[in-house]
């Protein structure tokens, strides 16, 4: 079986057996990271970076608004 067929099969597998797929079915997931709560560290870092970038955009937005008012 070529790899493409295999991948397609693997993608369609949970549709045939959703209950089996949800239980893991022998597939190694990051369960340890979830059980000891370290996943929240990752989420905190990602969310902080996102908030930082968005605050930068908001600041830029306000600065532009001020400039546009000055133009008129």
């Amino acid at each position: 079986m070529n790899l493409r067929k295999l991948l397609t099969l693997l993608l369609l597998l949970p549709l045939a057996h959703p209950a089996l797929a949800k239980d893991g079915d022998g597939v190694e997931m990051a369960d340890l990271m979830r059980s000891n709560g370290r996943i929240y560290v990752v989420v905190a870092v990602v969310v902080l970076i996102l908030i930082g970038l968005i605050l930068y955009l908001v600041r830029l937005d306000r600065k532009l608004r001020r400039l546009e008012k000055g133009e008129r």
Partner: protein, 247 residues
């Protein structure tokens, strides 16, 4: 109670007055995508494992790119109908941010691919040979190169009206080339990339219900972020133009 007050002030100044409610929506959707994307359940699939969560980031970049290029096309057509240089600026900025999203989609795809497609039993060089023949990668590269050429073409013409007219026509051509290079050809050829048989991730039957809960908001959030960035760069550009042209 300082924090809710800050929110109210933010709302009064930015939310209602300037019709930018969609910026608040962008932030909410992206926070949801980043938190839910890591914490909500996903199907356990061999080879993909937890990397399936990349769907909320990598695929959203391509969706965002396609939507931004579509907006760019609309503005190019509007330019050709009205010859208003404003629309030329809009089209250019949307194309630039679309290219940015495409490059990010490509780069994230490279990382994802090297952990899920590369065969550990093969020497790295042979694996790379197989990956380099991927029709989706080649198609996406061609599409992005055509858009790079759009920018090169624009900036090589000095005359403002000629520049705007030629690049608007070229933009329509570049958009048309997206369809064979990223929609049609990769589906005719065998590929490791999922979604060759239909619309990847859009099809209701090939994406898990749990994942759809995060995926669609994530697509909308990332696209709106792209639109936000574009509107900022358009406003900068318009200010620059006003300073240069004595209108």
């Amino acid at each position: 109670m300082a924090f809710p007050l800050f929110l109210l002030r933010f709302k009064r100044r930015d939310f209602s007055m300037n019709k930018s409610w969609w910026k608040v929506l962008t932030v909410a959707l992206l926070l949801y995508a980043c938190i839910g994307g890591f914490l909500l359940p996903v199907p356990a699939l061999p080879a993909l494992q937890e990397t399936i969560r990349n769907l909320y980031f990598h695929v959203c970049m391509w969706f965002g790119m396609m939507i931004l290029f579509t907006i760019s096309l609309v503005h190019s057509i509007r330019y050709l109908r009205t010859f208003d240089l404003k629309y030329d600026i809009y089209a250019r900025q949307y194309a630039i941010v679309g290219i940015l999203f495409g490059v990010l989609g490509y780069a994230t795809g490279i990382i994802w691919m090297s952990y899920t497609w590369a065969d550990p039993n093969n020497p790295a060089f042979e694996s790379f040979g197989a990956l380099a023949r991927e029709p989706k990668l080649i198609g996406a590269a061609i599409a992005l190169l055509i858009y790079f050429a759009y920018l090169v073409l624009r900036d090589s013409i000095g005359d403002l009206d000629k520049k705007a007219r030629i690049s608007a026509v070229y933009n329509i051509f570049a958009y048309a080339m997206l369809f064979p290079s990223i929609w049609i050809l990769p589906r005719l050829l065998p590929s490791l990339h999922p979604g060759g048989e239909g619309n990847p991730a859009l099809n209701f039957s090939d994406i898990d219900a749990d994942m759809r809960m995060v995926f669609y908001p994530a697509v909308l959030g990332w696209t709106l972020l792209g639109v936000w960035i574009t509107t900022l760069s358009i406003r900068i550009r318009l200010l620059q133009e006003k300073k240069m042209l004595p209108i």
